[in-house]
Amino acid sequence: MKKRIGTRSNSPFAVLYIAIILVLMYLPILVVVAYSFNDTKLFHWAGFTTDWYVKLFRNRTIIEAFWNSLKLAVLSSLSACVLGTMGAVGMSKRHFKTKGMLENLAIVPIMVPEIILGMAYLAFFSLVKLPFGMLTLVMAHTTFCVPYIYINVKAALTNMDPSIGEAALDLGASPTRAFFDITAPIILPAILSGTLLAFAMSMDDVVISFFATGSETSTLPLQVYSMLKMGVTPEINALCTVMLGTVFLLVALSSLLKAGRARGKQ
């Protein structure tokens, strides 16, 4: 490995700078968590309580929105997983004239500002008279989830040594067998981490859901948005803390997967 002369010369100022930015990054998050245990509706500290969590779990609207979000994220990240993985595999070995253009097309949904995609769905789903609700939400979310998986899997396929697959073919494996025995295990971590990322993006989305859903189906972020606009109730703090906890769990899971992949490479 190359010697990194930069590594040694980090000044105390640099470390301090990194620390300050990280504190600023986490301050808003920590404040939300702290306030979710605050025993008052006001803003001073009035002692520890878990009342807001009890209230939260009794709030039918929020619980319903949560299940909607979960259902939506699972359905769309899984559909996107199938579409995106097949897409990346299909495109990986091919060289033809329009390849570059087709590859750009595949990532359009995350390059276009969200609000334009949202507006496009509002208009398009009204045109084809699809009832706004879970179905339209899943269609919209699947669309912006596909690129995350496609990009991840494509990168894994690019890094893969093509001679491994060729060796399997030379040894008489059918192409299907070679794919499932050789390629699939190698790209599996990329498929999983892409799907997890897509799941998180779907759980987080406000803008596209805002346009792609009807009055009856709310998602958790949409519920939070309307609660924040209406006025503050401490239940939001509790809700946000629960959401944060979920994400931290997911991140831990995905970094375990990544660590596994790194070990596999060695």
Binding site: A88, R94, A106, I110, A123, T176, P221, L228
Partner: protein
Amino acid sequence: MPMNSRKKGGVPLAAVPMYIWTLLLVAIPLIYIVGLSFLTKAQTWGVDLNFTLDSYRKLFTPSYLKVFGQSLYVAVITTIAALAIGYPFAYFTSRLPKRARSLVLMLIIVPFWTNSLVRIYGWMILLRSQGVINGLLISLGVIDSPLKLLYNFGAVMVGMVYALIPFMILSIYNSCEKIDWSLVEAARDLGATRMRAFWSVTVPLTMPGIMAGCVLVFIPSVGLFFISDLLGGAKTMLLGNLIKNELLVARNWPMGAALSVAMLLMTLGIITLYKRMAGDKELEGLL
């Protein structure tokens, strides 16, 4: 199957479902938007099939131009601020020992995964008049009455930079990590000062990351309507807020569509400019 199709050189069959999906749910809706923008708003609901350029003509009236200007202004300031704060962070991080480096990176990625509304809400708690910062300053005796920190332009900027800075940090970090430090060392050996070596060697080497970061911050920043809604108290009107209002309040779909087309063209322009300057790969490598 992929192995097979490579030998035969047929169509990449496995990719067909993805492209059918993309055609139906990306290409056609976007083309439909372009079509809508040339139609007329109906008296009651929806659109009439009359071709007109009225919506585009209206784009150039002062009230719309003002929002465009304001939106661009917010986007430019957000991008500059994110670059100014994010560059040193990414640069210093890339020079940390390996363990610390991956820890810091993970700490940057986690908020990126957490719900952006939750994080914006955290700033509302911090900034509001009976909020944490005002409470702290009053109890320390720095101020007597609360400062008005929330519902103004500054709060919107804080929220924007905060929400988008991970994009900047991660793309600059990617470039910093690839720096061949012996080049910097060579510049120093040849008598360049530390500053000179930084500006003439390190910065040009990290230019791809700087540009990718700027694109990734700039593009979303024109559309994040909920940040200006929540932190700016809807006083700072952005392009995103305007499109939302045209659609849901004014119910003028052709106008909303025309605004979207203008925004889309702007985005395409930025990406094309970026690709011409930096080559293809950087944007994808980030995700």
